[in-house]
Structure formats: structure tokens, C-alpha cells
């Protein structure tokens, strides 16, 4: 189906992405490319276009629907039955050998499948030991993947597997944008003619790549250059030696592509721009990890800590400040800014409140009547990724695996009823499905005028962002609701994307009255909805407010309305945390009352500024009574 591939060379702009892709095919030791970018930035068009400029490699597509057997390979039941002996069937990893393995939306890939791919990517060998098949073959491939950070982040282990990382940005220039439209129209009108038109250019790039590959081995790297690479990697605080080796391999590929016989400072610098962005970040230190695991309060943390965990995914372009790489969620000076008394406070990072874990392992779920709900185990949910020998009654048969198990014995079994295959109980296999049960943490943030006093909103934003980051590391879903003036709004749908959440929060204006009940009602609806969509989800509410409700919802009493909804949330068995933002000499303590009605863990914002409070959700059940004293 190559006839419908948009030619690589006809893609306007995206020079960095193009270069990264070309380098990865010139020198497989570079270790593949991760392309991130928003919607409609030609990410996958670029990858598919590679087919035009690389002649000796296929692009093997790893679809999100893949199951384990098709990935690693295994027994071929058809051949086994027909020939009466074990036949192997190669999986995708075998097909990928010597080729390009392409994963679109890699951040959405099932973790189990991702781990299998990673193992092989690291070792270069696929060892299959399953279903009576022993198989071992080489599987060296160039791993290329795309992702949209707005859809969720990539696990650090996966991130590290990619040699290079680049971001695809939309073109900002009018003439270039117009050219993009023009070429796309021309292509769609007559793909064959369009491809013909660009053939010469494609061929010349393909030739250049071939030549670079041939000369790669002869590219010199002096001792000074090696030292520079090492210093560069160390400067970015990269662990291990992989970063500097990748910088050197990338620089060699760059030199070869430029037709140079020697790596210079220039290539090292350029290479670092591709190699370091996704590595130049500090993982959780051992000490912090331990604190989290022990569930104990740690010593006061470095005030800048919130900034160190660098999760925003950007290219580390030397000439730009990383912050500027993220387009503002709300561009200044456009159509907005109608209301008078509002301000947008920047988040004060550095405050840190962590929520740990989620619900206990065997979480009980309650119906609105308070009774524990039965598990929905008889309704198969989630992605089928693998299979197992069933324990007990089978209600989710893995037919393909069962057939493979039965295939080996068909010679010995008598065939009856005109069936070709006789399946016996010991053959039965059941499906293992992706467990996507996660906690859905919904933040309900007060953005009313009273929150704006004394830069309180900055502290609130900082705290919420730090919690969001923590939630992300634990693969939870987050959502944000804000309320002010007369209504509540959804800032962010349930998502795993922290970047999006941060952007929403940063631009959240403060001002107006306090429709607390409306905020809580929206949270209530949202959580019920989340459960409809995924009955196994564990909703968790975080209310950030001073509780000074002054907009009623259905009665005349704004606080009574808020409490009424709070009690309904509690009746749903939804757990919650109230972060009280009230400060000053005169305190009304309303947020605390709300916390009591919610049966929530209660924390005061001014308590977390001076020292770190570790909130362990798993201990909430036992600690709520204490905190109420």
C-alpha cells in the first residue's frame, strides 16, 4: 500500500524530526527515535514516509490491538494439526528483525506488551518459551514511536529505550501553512502523480543515506571529542554511559550524512540536542522513594523540589528556555478577558503534598445503598493481551491459545462429529486481560475571589500541580473542576496527562463568588459517570477550598446545599481529601465541617507550606477519626 504514502521529502518543515529519523536509519546504534507532538503535526506521516527513502528496510507496524502471541510468535495450530508435528509461527518481533518497528501512540500501549518489546529491544534476541514451543531468534530493529503528550506520558523505563527524542511542532508561518495545505490537496487529488513528482528528491535522499551508511565506519572520533561527549552527558546529569555513547553514535551519523570524515564539536552539540532532552531529568531519588514507601513524614524538602521532577516533555533546545517550549494554554491578547475583577496567579511550585497509592488492594466498592457491590468478573473487560491455564471456572475462553494447546495432540485423538479438532479439558486456556483499574483523582478547586487574597491561589496551584505530578507517576487518572462566580466548570476531563492539567491550572483565573455546591455537584456527576464508563475505577475527590460558599444551588442556604451534596458523595463510597485554604486570625472552619460530612481526610494548606505532609490514602480509613479530633 506504498502508493498512498505521502512522500517524506514533500513534508514541509519538521527538519529536526526528519534529521532524527534519517540519523536513526543511517546508524542503528543510535537506538531509535521517539517523536512527540500535538494533534495534526504530521508525526506519523513522517514515519510512514521513511518507506520512500529507505530501500532495504520495511516498516513493521505494531498496532495497539496486538496480543502477546502475535508479538513474540509461538505455535502455529494450523500447521501443527495438518502436519502432526510442531510448527512455529513467527511473531511481529521476527518480522521486525533488520527492519523498523513502528509504534504509533506508544504511550497508549499496554504495559505488558511494552515490556516484551523493551526486553527484546535491549537484548536483540527474542526467546520464546511457551505452549511447548522453544524458539530463539535474533530481533534487532530500529524502534520508532510517536506519541501525543496530551494523551498521557510515557513510563521512564520506556522513555530511556529511545536513543533520540524530538518534538513535532505545527508551523507558525502563514506561507508554510499555506504550502502544507496545497501539497496535501495535490496529494489527495492524485497520489500517484504527486509521488512521481517527488520521486527524484526521494531518490536523492535515499542515495545520501546509503552513502552515509557506507562511510559511517570510517568517521573519526578524536579523544577530545569523546571527552566532550562525556562531559556533555555528565552536565545533563545522565545516569550510566548510555547517553554519551548515544551522543557519539548520533554525531557520527550526522558527520557521515554531511559527508564529513571527522566528528567535530558542532556534531556533538547537535547530537546532544536529540539525545539529552528525555534523559536530562532526575528520577525519584532513593531517599524519596523510601519515604513514600515507608509512609512516614520526611524531613523538610528542598524548596525547589517541585521544579526538579521534570515531566513536561520538551526538546532541550539550547537557545530556548524549556518553559517557553510549551505554548500557553491560553494565548494572551486574543478574544478573551471579558470579566473585570479577575487575575491569573502563577503557581508557586515547591509545596509538596503527596497522596499515596489509592485504595487498598482489595478495594471494596459500595453501591448507593452502602452495600458492597459484586465484582463484574463475568463481564470480560479490557484488552486481551495474553492467556493462562484457568483456575476454576472459565468464562473468558482464549480460543487461539486453546487451539494451539490442542493442536499438538490431534494425531492421538479420535475425531468425531466431523470436527477437525478435538479439544479436551486440559487444553483450555483463558484470556488475561489488561488490568486498567486505576484511581481517578478529581480535584475540585475553589477559584473564587476569597482565594485570591494574599496570593493564596498561587500556593493552591503549586500544591495541586505537585499532587498531579505524583498521581501521574502512579499511573492514575486525574481530572480538575474549578468553581467560581456562578458556576463550576470542568477544566480537565479524566486523563492521564499532567501537562494538560498543569496548563489548565496555570491559566485558571481567580475572582467572583463561591458556588461550592455547584462544584461539588459537578464532581458528584463526574465521578458517577467515570464509574459508568469503567465500573472498576476508584474515584477519589480532592476538594481545595476555604468552604466559604455563598452561591446556593437548590435552596437558599449555600452551605446546606454543599453539605447535602457532600453527604451524597460519601454515600457513594467515594473517598476524599479536603485541603482547607482558610488562613488568618479569624477562621470559620467551614471546610472542616465539609470534611466531616464527606468523611474526608482533612489537611490545612498552611500546614503544608513549612513542612511536607505525606498523605497516605491507604491509611485514611484509620486516620480519619484521629484527624477529626
Amino acid at each position: 500500500m506504498n502508493d498512498h504514502v505521502f512522500p517524506f521529502t514533500a513534508i514541509v518543515g519538521q527538519e529536526r524530526v526528519k534529521t532524527a529519523l534519517i540519523l536513526s536509519v543511517i546508524n542503528p546504534r543510535v537506538g531509535g527515535v521517539l517523536i512527540s507532538g500535538g494533534n495534526g503535526t504530521a508525526k506519523s506521516t513522517l514515519v510512514r514516509g521513511l518507506a520512500d527513502i529507505v530501500d532495504d528496510m520495511k516498516i513493521v507496524n505494531l498496532p495497539l490491538n496486538i496480543t502477546e502471541d502475535r508479538l513474540v510468535g509461538g505455535l502455529d495450530f494450523e500447521g501443527t494439526i495438518n502436519h502432526g508435528r510442531k510448527c512455529h509461527e513467527p511473531g511481529l518481533l521476527q518480522r521486525a528483525h533488520g527492519n523498523i518497528l513502528y509504534i504509533d501512540e506508544v504511550n497508549l500501549l499496554n504495559p505488558h506488551i511494552a515490556d516484551l518489546v523493551l526486553d527484546v529491544a535491549a537484548s536483540g534476541i527474542n526467546i520464546v518459551e511457551r505452549e511447548g514451543v522453544t524458539l530463539c531468534h535474533r530481533s534487532r530493529f530500529i524502534l520508532i514511536a510517536t506519541m501525543n503528550p496530551e494523551e498521557g506520558h510515557l513510563r521512564p523505563q520506556l522513555l530511556d529505550r529511545f536513543g533520540l527524542s524530538v518534538t513535532a511542532y505545527p508551523e507558525a508561518e502563514e506561507a508554510k501553512r499555506a504550502e502544507i495545505i496545497r501539497r496535501r490537496l495535490e496529494f489527495e487529488r492524485d497520489p500517484v502523480a504527486f509521488r512521481q513528482k517527488w520521486l527524484k528528491e526521494s531518490r536523492s535522499t535515499a542515495q545520501k543515506i546509503l552513502r552515509a551508511r557506507e562511510t559511517l565506519r570510517e568517521v573519526n572520533t578524536s579523544g577530545e571529542i569523546l571527552a566532550l561527549a562525556a562531559a556533555t552527558a555528565r552536565g545533563a546529569r545522565c545516569a550510566g554511559h548510555r547517553a554519551e555513547i548515544t551522543i557519539i553514535e548520533t554525531a557520527k551519523a550526522l558527520a557521515a550524512f554531511k559527508g564529513r570524515g571527522e566528528v567535530t564539536t558542532e556534531e556533538i552539540e547537535e547530537a546532544a540536542g536529540y539525545v539529552l532532552p528525555h534523559r536530562a531529568r532526575e528520577p525519584l531519588s532513593g531517599r524519596r522513594k523510601q519515604e513514600v514507601e515507608n509512609g512516614s513524614d520526611g524531613p523538610p524538602e528542598n524548596a525547589r523540589e517541585g521544579n526538579v521532577v521534570h515531566l513536561g516533555y520538551q526538546d532541550n533546545l539550547p537557545q530556548k528556555e524549556p518553559e517557553q517550549d510549551i505554548p500557553p494554554f491560553f494565548p494572551a491578547g486574543t478574544q478573551h478577558g471579558k470579566a473585570g475583577q479577575e487575575k491569573v496567579e502563577a503557581p508557586a511550585l515547591g509545596l509538596s503534598l503527596r497522596i499515596e497509592g489509592g485504595y487498598p488492594r482489595k478495594a471494596r466498592r459500595f453501591t448507593s445503598s452502602g452495600r458492597q457491590e459484586k465484582s463484574r468478573a463475568n463481564v470480560p473487560q479490557g484488552r486481551y493481551v495474553s492467556f493462562r491455564i484457568p483456575r476454576g471456572k472459565v468464562n473468558d475462553l482464549a480460543l487461539d491459545a486453546t487451539l494451539r494447546a490442542a493442536a499438538l495432540f490431534q494425531k492421538m485423538r479420535r475425531r468425531t462429529d466431523g470436527l477437525t479438532i478435538v479439544i479436551e479439558p486440559q487444553d483450555i486456556r483463558e484470556k488475561v486481560r489488561e488490568q486498567h483499574t486505576s484511581t481517578f483523582v478529581l480535584f475540585v478547586v475553589d477559584a473564587s475571589g476569597s482565594m485570591g487574597a494574599r496570593r493564596r491561589m498561587g500556593a493552591v496551584k503549586g500544591t495541586v500541580i505537585s499532587m498531579l505530578r505524583d498521581m501521574y507517576l502512579r499511573r492514575n487518572q486525574v481530572g480538575v473542576i474549578a468553581f467560581r462566580r456562578d458556576s463550576a466548570i470542568k477544566l480537565l476531563e479524566a486523563t492521564r496527562s499532567v501537562e494538560l492539567a498543569e496548563r489548565c491550572l496555570k491559566d485558571l483565573p481567580t475572582g467572583g463568588r463561591t458556588p461550592l455546591a455547584a462544584g461539588l455537584r459537578m464532581a458528584y456527576v463526574e465521578m458517577k459517570l467515570a464509574r459508568t464508563r469503567d465500573p472498576d475505577i476508584l474515584p477519589y475527590l480532592v476538594l481545595v477550598s476555604d468552604g466559604r460558599a455563598n452561591v446556593p444551588l437548590f435552596s437558599r442556604d449555600s452551605l446546606a446545599d454543599a453539605l447535602e451534596i457532600a453527604s451524597r458523595i460519601r454515600a457513594e463510597g467515594i473517598r476524599s481529601l479536603v485541603l482547607d485554604t482558610e488562613e488568618g486570625a479569624v477562621r470559620l472552619g467551614i471546610a472542616k465541617t465539609i470534611a466531616e460530612v464527606l468523611d474526608a481526610r482533612y489537611v490545612r494548606l498552611d500546614e503544608i507550606s513549612p513542612r511536607k505532609v505525606l498523605v497516605n490514602v491507604e491509611s485514611l480509613m484509620t486516620s480519619t477519626k484521629q484527624s477529626r479530633k
Binding site: M1, L62, A178, T334, H336, T420, I421, A447, L500, P509
Partner: protein, 351 residues
């Protein structure tokens, strides 16, 4: 005869031309038929606003086209580059036989499982014959048809992923349960949603070429007319359909002409630049907005019987393409089509 339904539970399909009001929705659907590359329509609105009726009626209106006879994937005999594996093999031996087929509306129910959508191992065939065979799923049926997802915002995340995977390339790649298969899957995606029940993932929103908001008709005469027609249809569907036969035929002919004319529609550089400028001014995400805007404007020009894209075509297109593609600020209502038009007119003034 051709106006009666070929299948489905309802024997009769309410004529498209008999739908009262909802002009933007009707226009959006028609433009997608004229150019299926526009990328579908997302219809937002409360329940009971005739959304699914409109989609089904539209399919009924469309003329038949050529398909490869007996192909599960509804391959286009004139597009060998997109043949499925079977057609490829068959075509190497002898010319493929053709058959006329109608455009179908393929439903993707929220309860659908992953294997039903992507397709999977044919269980019966495996047990009876001991052979692996691919059993086509919904994405196979959807090829060259309309894929309709009611309440698309409630669709499970991992099903959305599969849908997006196929939509991105127009090809469904299946690597599951012992089968490895690839087939074309290019469809006009039509989704409906009630925004009160939650939004769509940004990625899925962006996949929809056009978005229309539908509301119930407000004015009394329209409401009366809706009821009157509905009653007439239920009372005597055949007579009702006959009453609208002429209008239906005219619209069918107009769509056919527009499809032919589209090949000749020209879009001047000024218009391309204007589209780019609008996209920059409104700070849309990515490039899909500009491209879709122009494609839609061209389809609109063709529908109006013109060979040249005008500013009015572009404005109509922008109203349909842009509202869902702009980033929103918290507590900001976003822009409605009228506000978008106002800004575009300002942009035009500055030239």
C-alpha cells in the same frame, strides 16, 4: 422502490429532505459525502434531536457505487492500491467482478468488544477445518461506508484507541489471537454526543473533520411542522416517501453533480493564505484545521455549483471546522460559529 430500506428493523427510512431545520447538520453531512476525506462529523446536542435519523436518511439518499463482488471489505475495484489481501490475490489471476452496493451506516455500539471492532480469529472455521481465517469486524464493514458511533464520548478508551489507529492510516492492522491481517478501512466517521455527559479526548475530537451543535427547533411553526411530518410518516410511510421522492431525487442529483464538479474546483493561493492566517489568528492545534477548512470550502463550492472557492465558502467551512479545534481557557465559553465568523471577517478586512 429505491427509497425503501434494504435492511434493518425499520422497513422505511424517513427521507432526508423531510427533516425540518437542522441546516448545519444536514450541510455537514452532505459535504462529507461530496468529499469523504473531510473526516466525518461530530454532532453535539441533547437527545431526541433527530441525529441518528439524519445519518440513516443520508445513506439512503446516496447513489450506488461499484464494489468487488463477494469481498468482505467492500473493496473499490478501481482502487487496486487499497485492495484487501484476498482481492490482491484474486486480481492477480483474473479481473475482479463488480457489483453495485449502497452506502451503509455501520453502527459501533458502546458495548462492542475489541475483537468485534478489529476482527479476530474465525472460531467456527478454526474448529471445523483446523485452519486460521480472519473474521472481519466492524472496521471491515465500515470500509467505504459511514461508521456511526452514538454517544461517542462514552466509548471506552481502549476502543477509541483502536478506532484512531485505523482512522489514522485508513488501514486496519490486526495482530491478535493467532491471526495477522491487514485490510483497508476508510470510513466517514459520524459521532453523536451529549456534551453534558462528558467531553471527548482531544485526539478523537481532532479526528472529526466537522462539528455541529444541534438544538431542538425553537419556533412554534417549525415544531408543529416536525410533529405533523412525523405523524404523516408513521401513518403512511409509503405515501410520505412518495411525497418527497422528487426532492430526494433532486438532492441526490445535486450531490452527484457536486462530486463530479469537485475534481475541477480550484482554490486560489489567496484562499490558502487566508485559511492559514485564520488558523494562526485563532490559534488552532496542528494543521488539520487548515487542511480540513480548505477541503470543506472546496466541497461547499462544488455543492453550490461553483468552480472557484470564495470567501463565503471559507467562512461556511470555518464555522464547521474550527469551533472544536481551538484551545479553551478556563471559564471561557470558547467561540461559537458566529464569533468565529466575526473574527474571520476582521482578518479579511486587513488584507
Amino acid at each position: 422502490m429505491s427509497l425503501s430500506a434494504s435492511s434493518g428493523s425499520n422497513q422505511y427510512i424517513y427521507p432526508f429532505t423531510a427533516i425540518v431545520g437542522q441546516e448545519m447538520m444536514k450541510k455537514a453531512l452532505i459535504l462529507n459525502v461530496i468529499n469523504p476525506m473531510i473526516g466525518g462529523v461530530l454532532i453535539r446536542g441533547e437527545k431526541g434531536t433527530a441525529k441518528s435519523t439524519a445519518v440513516r436518511s443520508l445513506a439512503e439518499l446516496l447513489p450506488e457505487r461499484d464494489s468487488v463482488e463477494g469481498c468482505d471489505f467492500n473493496c473499490d475495484p478501481d482502487d487496486p492500491a487499497r485492495y484487501c489481501e484476498y482481492c490482491l490475490r484474486l486480481a492477480a489471476e483474473k479481473p475482479l467482478s463488480r457489483v453495485k452496493t449502497k452506502v451503509q451506516v455501520i453502527n459501533l455500539p458502546l458495548s462492542a468488544t475489541e475483537d468485534r471492532i478489529a476482527g479476530t480469529l474465525d472460531i467456527e472455521h478454526a474448529i471445523k477445518k483446523g485452519e486460521k481465517r480472519f473474521e472481519p469486524g466492524i472496521l471491515a464493514q465500515a470500509n467505504r461506508n459511514i461508521l456511526y458511533v452514538d454517544e461517542v464520548n462514552l466509548l471506552d478508551d481502549h476502543l477509541v484507541d483502536i478506532l484512531l489507529d485505523a482512522a489514522a492510516m485508513g488501514i486496519n492492522v490486526v495482530e491478535r489471537e493467532g491471526v495477522s491481517f491487514m485490510h483497508p478501512s476508510r470510513f466517514v466517521l459520524v459521532g453523536t454526543m451529549n456534551p453534558e455527559e462528558g467531553n471527548l479526548r482531544p485526539q478523537l475530537t481532532d479526528r472529526f473533520g466537522l462539528v455541529v451543535d444541534v438544538t431542538g427547533e425553537d419556533d412554534i411553526p417549525s415544531r408543529i411542522e416536525i410533529i405533523r411530518r412525523r405523524l404523516a410518516f408513521e401513518n403512511d410511510p409509503e405515501a410520505f416517501i412518495t411525497d418527497f421522492a422528487q426532492a430526494q431525487q433532486e438532492l441526490t442529483a445535486r450531490i452527484e453533480q457536486a462530486k463530479d464538479l469537485l475534481k475541477e474546483v480550484h482554490c486560489a493561493d489567496d484562499m490558502l493564505n487566508l485559511a492559514a492566517r485564520i488558523a494562526i489568528r485563532l490559534e488552532v492545534d496542528g494543521h488539520r484545521a487548515d487542511i480540513t477548512m480548505i477541503k470543506t470550502a472546496m466541497a461547499h463550492a462544488a455543492l453550490e455549483g461553483r468552480r472557484e472557492v470564495t470567501e463565503d465558502d471559507l467562512i461556511t467551512a470555518a464555522r464547521l471546522c474550527l469551533p472544536h479545534r481551538m484551545r479553551r481557557r478556563p471559564f471561557d465559553e470558547g467561540l461559537n460559529p458566529d464569533e468565529i465568523e466575526k473574527i474571520i471577517r476582521e482578518v479579511m478586512q486587513k488584507i
